[in-house]
Amino acid sequence: MFKIVSKQKLAPKEFDFWVEAPRIANHAKAGQFVVLRVNDNGERIPLTIADYNKEKGLIRLIFQVVGKTTATLSGLNVGDAIQDISGPLGTPSEVEKYGTVLMVGGGVGIAALYPIIKALKEAGNKVITILGGRTSSLVIMKEECKEYSDELIITTDDGSEGMKGVVTQAMEMLVKQRGEKIDRCWCIGPSIMMKFGTKAAKELGLPIWVSLNPLMVDGTGMCGCCRVTVDGKIFFACVDGPEFDGHKVNWDEFMNRLRQYKDEEKISMEKYEAEVGEPTWL
């Protein structure tokens, strides 16, 4: 059992937990994830390790409520425990001194981007970060990302904060208008954002790494549920990824596979709401 030691709501439907998991904290690196199971009848879902504290033996999990499992998880409180957490899984980010790195994040993907921002900054890179969202309150972890970024640009669809528009416009602004020389780029967020972030990077001639979040079962290379096509070949995101060269990812296939259990996800959520009632805390 893995005890929750702190809980915070970052935005509507987005939660921030610190959880006791000393073995995982001891080996976690930027870019890795865990697979967890909330309770005995639960499913196994992957969540990025947003941060970790080796000394205290804690890992940080930030997630958005998208279905029954995340709704159940969000209903747990400090002192409660998560039944199973396995990790750190996946291949860590390639953290080196590249020069200038451009970090693009959106939605709950910002939580996955944050540890990489931190690691790249600590490795001596100049870090420029773009965080985007529909509206200001949905752009999470601004202060924390700012702390490890040389520059932070916020974009919002409604113009409530920073640049009005989407992250790709900020990417273009940086490279085309300002002439910023970018050595490597990361983009993590909803799949549609990563797809278009990659498209923008291509037009701007930037190498871009994305972190894929397909469906997973075991998370250790045993089942192939998370297979993705990259450069025409099949890879398992859980062990070969989760990070891949965005230019080589077959995005349409990836997004199609994410929809595979839409009907069942709906059945699960309806059953949950019938049993627990509407999750008003979201």
Binding site: R23, I24, H27, R37, N41, G42, E43, R44, K68, T69, Q83, D84, I85, S86, G87, P88, L89, V217, D218, T220, G221, M222, C223, G224, C225, R227, V228, T229, I234, V239, N250, D252, E253, N256, R257, R259, Q260, Y261, E264, I267, S268, K271
Partner: protein, 470 residues
């Protein structure tokens, strides 16, 4: 002396095929004590005991059968305990026809079936677990040393049980949330009920074996850490990485590896969705590719999930089918269709990213290949289409690299499996032993157990000698 016993094995009760094809309850219902006694009466108690030679863990089969005959079930259980830590499992999933029963003297007589050794083993094991006062006792003396075991499948459970009995402190690290390895995630409930596996594991824990789940060795802890903390280590992580044939359409929705399909159903209880959260897709028409036990398990599971039509597509013929013959017969009884000498060439998209069907091609058998079996060759122009909304590839598994990639000191063979001594399991790294599928490639439960038995002896010797040298 005239032989007076039945030529056939004593019949065993099974769930009716028409009923069982829509439930996950166990197919074989086992012998009663009475039936077991009658079957035990068919054993000749021959002096040569060929059956024992056929058993990878060398159970004294005639001895336990004699006990059954004499109403001494406790005696039978005690004999079995000396050789196997997983009798209830082996009695159910061992390929007895090619092992003990394949060599049985009775079976060698014209028109006679061999003694039903597997079913008798199961009877004794099930009887044992029904007795509350027969719980195994943990070793009480001073511990001889500390051994880490990576993985909790049949090979690991065997080595762990044997070492615990010898007086070692044994810790098993399991990557998943439940112990048992392939017995839990791979073999379906209708062939091996999970409560049986749980009983075998609990009995192991009573011997003092400590099991920690959610530990992915190589990730959660490293081999280097294990080697500092323990006197020796046994690696039996199985052959867990599924292969795909790689034909076009493999990433369509509706195409699965058997590993995923079965893990969803067995480990995650997908057949009980939405009571359990992990869904197992209900399909109408299912094509299973492969001819091993895993293919049979996948096909029969698909039927139980409600598929109207399940077709197994195998590139060789019935004669070469690697599955246990009992599993094949059960599959046929349940209405599974077999297309022999057939191989998929493409998974066809319905236009929305979902599987519409499988393009297959007829094969013929050519010259023998490296395995000695005749190699299937496609017959040009013989393609046809099988409608399906679910396709499951059960074409074998390879070595999982998660642990091995973090342990470069470990010498591997050409196929990526661990190179280990056949008799002892000793690897290229002193103090590290290995066995089961991660050494042999995908094989059987009992072979993995045999490797565990040998390794337990070798590990005891290694630690004893190391401590004496100090």
């Amino acid at each position: 002396m005239a032989v007076t016993f039945s030529k056939q094995k004593t019949p065993i009760k099974e769930q009716d095929p028409q009923v069982r094809r829509s439930n996950f309850g166990e197919v074989c219902l086992g012998y009663t004590l009475e039936e077991g006694k009658i079957e035990a009466g068919r054993c000749l108690q021959c002096k040569t005991k060929p059956c024992v030679n056929g058993c990878p863990v060398k159970i004294d089969i005639p001895a336990f059968i004699k006990c059954i005959r004499e109403d001494d079930m406790a005696g039978a259980a005690a004999i079995m305990d000396r050789y196997t830590n997983l009798p209830a499992v082996c009695g159910r999933v061992c390929p007895q026809e090619s092992q003990c029963e394949g060599l049985c003297t009775v079976g060698k007589m014209k028109d006679y079936e061999p003694v039903s050794i597997g079913k008798l083993e199961r009877l004794v094991a099930d009887w044992k677990y029904a007795q509350k006062d027969l719980a195994p006792k943990a070793y009480e003396g001073e511990k001889k040393g500390r051994v880490a075991v990576v993985g909790s499948g049949p090979s690991s459970l065997t080595v762990a049980g044997d070492l615990a009995k010898m007086g070692y402190e044994v810790k098993i690290f399991e990557a998943l949330h439940a112990a048992g390895g392939v017995l839990i995630y791979g073999i379906p409930e209708f062939r091996l009920p999970k409560k049986i596996v749980k009983m075998e594991i609990e009995s192991m824990q009573k011997l003092g074996v400590d099991i920690e789940t959610n530990v992915v060795v190589g990730k959660t802890i490293t081999m280097q850490e294990i080697m500092i903390e323990y006197d020796a280590c046994y690696i039996a992580v199985g052959a867990g990485a599924p292969h795909f044939q790689g034909v076009p359409g493999t990433t369509l929705n509706g195409v699965y590896s058997a590993s995923e399909y079965l893990t969803r159903i067995n480990l995650m209880h997908g057949y009980e969705f939405p009571k359990f959260d992990t869904p197992a897709k209900k399909a109408h028409k299912v094509v299973v590719i492969g001819g091993g036990n895993v293919a049979m398990d996948a096909a029969r599971s698909a039927k139980r999930l409600g598929a109207e039509e399940v077709t197994v597509v195998y590139r060789r013929s019935l004669k070469e089918l690697p599955a246990r013959i009992e599993e094949y017969h059960h599959a046929v009884e349940e209405g599974i269709i077999f297309n022999w000498l057939t191989n998929p060439t493409e998974y066809v998209d319905n236009g929305e990213g979902k599987l519409k069907g499988v393009k297959v091609i007829k094969m013929e058998l050519g010259e023998p290949d490296a395995s000695g079996r005749r190699r299937p060759v496609p017959i040009e122009g013989s393609e046809y289409f099988i409608e399906a909304d679910c396709a499951i590839e059960a074409i074998g598994q390879g070595a999982n690299r998660v642990l091995l990639s973090t342990f470069p000191e470990m010498k591997l063979n050409k196929k990526g499996y661990i190179e280990a001594d056949e008799k002892t399991g000793q690897t290229s790294v002193p103090g590290v032993f290995a066995g089961g599928d991660i050494v042999t490639g995908a094989a059987t439960v009992i072979l993995a157990m045999g490797a565990g038995k040998d390794a337990a002896v070798a590990i005891d010797k290694y630690i004893t000698e190391k401590k004496a040298a100090k």
